[in-house]
Symmetry: C2
Subunit: 348 residues, 2 copies
């Protein structure tokens, strides 16, 4: 028996001894394991997969001021990421407003001829609290570049400046403004994580308001469930090295945004929404994603509602890791797939 | 701190102490966890998800005689499952031969009008060694009933009676025979696990032989990789309560079939095949599936080859658990989705 095998066996036996007594009926105890580097991915994704879980992943802000400090730090680092990425990918980013809401206008070097009259509305990730300002544009830059689309990224309001449903109201306001210059069938809405939930919530809200719906949507690994339901919250805990586990920053941040509002409201947990009549949707996740279950549950519920919904799952990727490295071939593939899906479903 | 939280913390700390020294660079140590009963699934799937890992999951046959005994036991229990299921679902099963190969002809109470001239070829699961004879028909019965299709299930040769490529040759022989009565565009080939790999292998082989290809395929959680590559072999080890882990019965059984042949041959590990020109494909897996990575890797490679390939991933399901309970609404959903996909792609 090798040292490693011995270590594994010892740890597994100890785990069984310690934990079996503490498990309830229908619960199962899963022993520790060593997670090797994934083999069938690019070196870039392998590098991301090998990153350790951040030591302070569950050290959370306690006051509005502490949240604000975390927000500022995330905006600063995200802004640098976005600026560098835009330069590398030759994408032009300019600030403007639409419907009174600050947005970033994002133009690739070349807009594909078939996309000339189309517009994508991007809703950024960041657990409803982080990643605003110019940092909002990272995913939009990737889509503009790899999909050759004109993209507008919504810099929606976040707490502590404003609480639920401020973010959703801002996305809807931008949608209304966009309807003045584009046919709804020429537009898609997309974004990951909180942006994926807001994409789904925006369609629910637009339907309530009897607004026309977009021609397609692309919710990436949507944060569609804030009440803890979802098997991958357990199976991928500590395996996902981005969100890490439910006691990481993302759910507390979302509750900070929800500000006491019922978390099961479909405008906060869209997995509980009625998806009847939704536009065609493409969903993206990874096998290590803490929100893998969120994503596949939304996919199933879209299909059950009769919606043309496509799912893509990337090997060994943690939560929204497809926006981390613009040089990874998988990143290009994710956005080219979404772009191709939009191309099939949007009017010219 | 609750007792459970204390137990978890103790086990996690011990694991870190014991295992960190044994991990190589780029490996990550994943602590033990308690897997709760999944919430957003039917009671049937919740029951299946709560089953403990079989204690003897890695106690393997050592001789051809021991494999034969395991084979006989699996055929006996599978035959009872199939007989009961056929009765409950009012499906008629009769034995015949096609192209010299024993098959089961499977007819539902009603063949849908649009399926009258269509035929599905089913390739059964069982790691190339198990689940033959009337047991082969379980998945075919589910498809016949929920999809209202005429299905033929191939009772291909298995070791110790015959080795690679006997199973594949039998599937191809049935395909050739079927081409005498049906247009290829009216037929689809489907099946799970080893049957999923054989479905992909059959298309590779048919292309080599310049035979016409089916109008669509449905490889369910294909055993498309026998060389150990795939992140979910690590992430879902001990979480999947069907295959359990790589040291369970399935890979040794496949090696028994391979009989020394190179496991990286695309006819054994079709993930390494060239998927250019493949028919439209629908792939099915679950979030707990040990072959989740196999399935999503095949899906990506099909998409990269330009194939119209759809992926469906079911919440909290272990390997091919969608053929375990015909009363689970998820089972019906899996096969109705595949049937709808076939309906969109097959000629009438």
């Amino acid at each position: 028996m090798t040292d490693k095998k011995l270590a594994w066996t010892t740890a597994a036996l100890l785990t069984a001894l310690i934990m079996n007594g503490a498990a309830d009926a229908q619960e199962r105890v899963i022993p520790p394991r060593v997670l090797p580097a994934p083999a069938d991915v690019s070196p870039q994704i392998q590098g991301l997969a090998g990153l350790p879980v951040p030591e302070n992943y569950n050290v959370l802000p306690k006051t509005a001021e502490e949240w604000k400090a975390r927000q500022n730090a995330s905006q600063a680092s995200g802004t640098k990421t976005a600026t560098d990425m835009a330069a590398r990918l030759h994408v032009k980013v300019s600030a403007k407003t639409m419907g009174g809401v600050p947005v970033f206008d994002i133009l690739p070097e070349t807009v594909a001829p078939e996309n000339r009259d189309r517009l994508l509305i991007h809703v950024h990730p960041g657990c409803y609290v982080l990643g605003g300002g110019p940092a909002a544009t990272v995913e939009a830059i990737l889509m503009a570049s790899f999909g050759q689309f004109h993209v507008v990224s919504v810099d929606y309001r976040m707490p502590p400046a404003a609480y639920f449903p401020a973010a959703l109201d801002d996305v809807v306001a931008v949608w209304k403004a966009a309807l003045k210059t584009h046919k709804p069938s020429q537009m898609a809405v997309f974004g990951s994580s909180a942006g994926g939930a807001l994409t789904l919530g925006m369609v629910l809200r637009a339907r309530e308001l009897k607004l026309p719906l977009p021609g397609a949507i692309g919710p990436g690994t949507p944060m569609a469930e804030l009440t803890g339901v979802g098997d991958s919250f357990a199976t991928n805990a500590m395996i996902d090295n981005v969100l890490v586990a439910r006691d990481g920053i993302c759910e507390p941040a979302a509750r900070f945004y929800a500000n006491g509002h019922d978390l099961k409201d479909p405008l906060l947990s869209p997995v509980y929404g009625n998806f009847k009549g939704f536009p065609p949707a493409i969903l993206t996740t990874g096998t290590r994603d803490l929100l893998l279950s969120n994503t596949v549950r939304v996919h199933r519920k879209l299909r059950e509602a009769g919606v043309d919904a496509q799912l893509q799952v990337f090997e060994a990727m943690s939560h929204a890791q497809y926006i981390r490295d613009d040089t990874a071939p998988e990143t290009r593939e994710v956005f080219q797939e979404i772009a191709a899906f939009f191309d099939r479903h949007l009017a010219r």
